[in-house]
Amino acid sequence: MALWDSVIGAAAKRGGALIGAGRAVPLAALAQVSCLAGRLEALRGRCVLIAVRDAFTAAILLLELDGVARRMVLCTPDLQREHLPHVVRCAQADVWLSDSPQNGPPAGVELDFAVEADAQPVPLPPGLQRPFHRADCQAATEWVLLTSGTTGAPKLVAHTLASLTSAFAGERAQGAAPVWSTFYDIRRYGGLQIYLRALHAGSLLLASAGETITDYLARASAAGVTHISGTPSHWRKALMSGAAERFSPAYVRLSGEIADQGILDALRAAFPRAVVAHAFASTEAGVAFEVRDGRAGFPATLVGTSERGVELDVSRGTLRVRSPGNASAYLGDGAPPLEDSEGFVDLGDRLELREGRYYFAGRSGGIINVGGLKVHPEEVEAVINSHPGVRMSLVRPRRNPITGAVVAADVVLVEGAGAGSTADERIRKEILDACRTTLAAHKVPALIRFVPSLEMSPSGKLVRPSA
């Protein structure tokens, strides 16, 4: 079944709509319009890289191409152009789909052809009718999502519509159809879940590029958004904007980062009539579970197999998930296997059991999550260690109420390099200057402290803190 079938089968009949800034299309009306019109047929069976800026156009294109293209690669709007050749190569993309000449393919990338989608959907040409996919279409379209990789280049994660919708497929809508919205871009896993849920049952209000959080929440409130999702960092920003005061959703969802008790309590106080739920999901593992009791962590009773066939395992100290929602593979030559030998995806989140509840206790790989952006400590240490006055350094997360964590660095100076506070200050400034020149802002240490030594393991490795 393609995405179109599920829309026709559900939300369109109940009057759902796709709502952007200053425009809205009833889902039922999407049967008569297209952003590709006569060019759609050329994309049949192709591997299409979707590099459009506008989320509204992307929302329509996904609907048009599912069941038609062999593979769709969902590029996020902030994807750096330098990574595009890598994405094209790994995905074996042969068609480039953009929405303006500014985001056409970079020079030197091998493609069969490029197509420009219409920014506004136009009526279907005569002879073209929904559904576009053929009833005898055997192979489902592959949906490829990008996620941040260890070397800066994104990893390509392949899903199917079945794996992407496994968390809610078959759910029957109860009561009034929800109006969904999300702080995420719909081309990221967290946003795509909301897009698909909304098409399955309800309406979807899309955030617009460049829109302030105050304007977005005002629009969401005016449009009667009932269900809304974002990361804990999105929500902290929303609460700090003051715009949340005039908004009264029925369901508030957090995902993408670990939800701590502070943000859960703040949302409970800000939205007393809402269900505040935190979902645990990743692009690779899919949606593992949702917690609705307002407490951080999750009850130990969730470990095992759920009604939806999601298996959670904690026997190795980290959370592992085997589920119909798991992605099928990483794409590209030499890409690592996505699942372990038992078919589990290891999320690398270490757990602590306290009084019948599991709490997240940092990442096993030492990755630091600064407001949803990943930082590999080794990458920052390499820059710090390049300073001639530095003997060694340890980069670690430090808990933060705004972004969940910030980067902190413990630095050991070579003997005689830091003689007195003036010399220390000079070295601190030089280290920070080097970091600011070579690293993205969220990777630059928020705090640097000079320490006499760092703990080493018997094998001579730095002992990394567990949280």
């Binding site: 302030t212 904007s241 003051g242 705004i402 220390d424 402290r449 320490v451 006499p452 030594s453």
Partner: protein
């Protein structure tokens, strides 16, 4: 682990002055244009982004010795709210 030297020593400066200094310091570092810090200035209109606020809160914890967000019932919306949140804990 013994600290040799910590840049952000616990300060005796008034809380408001410490906060104002840190807003200015982080704005300079992040190359952001900071609006005049009046009490009714909305935090999200002051010119700083989430990362800048995260840096300010982390450094305030080192300077003042506490993080009032861990027990805060609501998030500050204006600069005045932000100062009050820290001053209330200082008493």
């Amino acid at each position: 682990m013994k600290l040799l030297y910590n840049h952000y020593k616990v300060t005796t400066m008034p809380v408001r002055a410490t906060i104002t200094n840190l807003f200015q310091e982080v704005a300079r570092e992040q190359q952001r244009q900071l609006a005049p810090l009046t009490d009714d200035l909305k935090l999200l209109k002051c010119g700083l982004d989430s990362l800048s606020f995260a840096l300010i809160v982390a450094r305030l914890e080192d300077a003042l010795g506490y993080d009032p967000f861990d027990t805060a019932e609501s998030f500050p919306v204006t600069f005045g709210d932000f100062v009050k949140l820290y001053e209330a804990r200082a008493v």
